[in-house]
Amino acid sequence: MQCDHCGERPAAIHLTQIVNNSVTTLHLCEACAAEKGVQTGASVAKFPLSDFLASMGKGAAGSLPATTDDTPCGFCGATLKDFRDAGRLGCPHCYASFETHLRDLLRRLHGSSQHVGEVYLPPEAAAAVGIAPPRGNQLGELRDQLRRAVEAENFELAAELRDRIRVLDDH
């Protein structure tokens, strides 16, 4: 089977999506899949942090103007070079200071940069609604999870999520 996108290389990744209740399946080669930001478990596993950090010096980050490496985080003063040397960021603000680089890195490491887990309620918000507050966007999150579970044909998890959505819907 050829890739639906380029029509040249053999399709290696079969992406099933559900949009407006209709199922579409895309057959992509590895190169086109990577271009579309689709990461497979195997390609994620092939990208340990140390390799990525090493490649930052030679690859895409290496071609950036040298000053990029020296621009420090406005809060803690750490630079991308510090990160490359230590493998650790300086402070939470580094994620905003080096956002583009980190989004790319997170996608390579995890296959995604979008957090879909529990949403944090800071102390003042938690205090306003009691100590164990309902999670802000819980229903929306659960629906997203349900969609992904169905896509992955994980019906056991899907059934569990559907039950939880029903309980929340009833309130």
Binding site: G41, A45, R88, A96, R103, A127, Q145
Partner: protein
């Protein structure tokens, strides 16, 4: 200053009591959540006074929470090396927090808050590493208590959170959920049938990873493997746990299958291997840690296959803990180095097995 181990909640080893589900194959389940406080540099870049403030904030918040109200608080930076090693050998703190890494020193501000099966490492790589440690294969149970603790501490401490990237951590490999769940599993059947390489290779293809007995960077000894999720972002906590749980269940099935094959195709070889291991542990006068772990693996397999009866898995788990250097020194009441250490280890193992031998009726049919 020396820690009185009897003061630790449950002696700090309830996770090893073999009472949990699938206790014959799975030793323990651990889940940790990495969290950092807003407006402060991550631990490694923070100043001593920042780390001290964080420690006070976390300890203070812990006192207001029921599950940590009676917790033991250890100022790890005030403990001598032997005590730090004791906590490390009990899997209660990491090698980094214990300051036991090569060329490493204990970090000012390092602390452990320990309440039963819940603990918080303070000023590890992240400001907080909350963890829940349970006996056997118990992912959901371990997460239920940890999720509550996360909510309670998060309502009192301002955690660093980003709408896109989730919980922000010093190392981007932990960002998002900050959740790492690991299951410590004993796989002698897969090792003996040489199927283990295939299984471990399969793990990496489904986004999981394996480590040795003490977690990251540690060697595999005694056929114990820690299986855990590799990614922490892009999937919800439930999805991460569900995925790991399903794969671990499969690995348990493979292991049981391998054990059945061994018993069917080479019963006398297995029986000999198991009893030889028992014999060496029971009568040897000098044992290295690695040899002890390998022999304990053989005996544990024998107990799992009902070749050895009346020897509790808990006893074997306790031997694994007490065969380590700091525990042997603690029992001896003095620092020990080889060859005394290897002699003390053999003596401790021999006596423990003798104590159980009264109840033991070896039937080598």
């Amino acid at each position: 200053m020396t820690i009185d181990l009897s003061l630790l909640p449950d002696g700090g080893i309830s996770w090893a009591d073999a009472s949990g589900p699938d206790g014959h194959i799975v030793l323990s389940t651990r889940i940790r959540l990495a969290r950092n406080l807003q407006g402060t540099a991550f631990t490694i870049r923070a100043r001593d006074e920042d780390r001290e403030r964080i420690r006070e904030q976390v300890i203070g918040a812990g006192r207001e929470i029921k599950s940590l109200a009676d917790a033991a608080v250890f100022r790890v930076d005030g403990l001598d090396r032997a005590d730090r090693q004791l906590l490390y050998e009990r899997h209660l703190i990491s090698k980094e927090l214990a300051g036991l890494e090569a060329g490493g020193a204990v970090r000012p501000g390092a602390a452990l808050v320990l309440g039963g099966d819940l603990g918080v490492m303070v000023n590890e790589e992240d400001h907080l590493r909350m963890q829940s440690l349970h006996s056997g294969f118990a992912l959901q149970r371990a997460y239920a208590t940890l999720e509550r603790l996360d909510g309670e501490l998060g309502a009192r401490l301002p955690f660093a959170f980003h709408p896109e990237f989730g919980y922000l951590t010093a190392c981007p490999t932990n960002a998002g959920t900050g959740l790492r769940a690991s299951v410590l599993i004993h796989l002698p059947g897969l090792v003996l049938t040489k199927e283990i390489a295939k299984v471990l290779q399969g793990l990496s293809q489904v986004g999981l990873t394996f480590r040795g007995l003490y977690g990251e960077g540690s060697e595999v000894v005694g056929n114990f493997f820690q299986l855990s999720n590799q990614t922490t972002l892009g999937k919800s906590e439930e999805e991460l746990l569900d995925h790991l749980g399903k794969i671990v269940r499969q690995v348990i099935d493979y292991e049981e299958q391998a054990r059945r094959v061994l018993l069917r195709d080479a019963p006398s070889v297995i029986e000999d291997k198991v009893w030889r291991a028992y014999g060496l542990l029971r009568y040897a006068r000098s044992l290295s840690f690695e040899e002890t772990m390998n022999l304990l693996s053989g005996v544990r397999l024998g107990v799992g296959l009902n070749l050895i009866n009346d020897l509790g898995v808990y006893t074997l788990n306790k031997l694994m803990i007490f065969a380590q250097p700091a525990h042997l020194a603690y029992v001896a009441g003095r620092p020990l180095a080889d060859p005394d250490l290897a002699i003390a280890r053999a003596t401790f193992v021999r006596r423990s097995l003798e104590e159980e031998a009264g109840r033991m009726r070896p039937q080598a049919s």
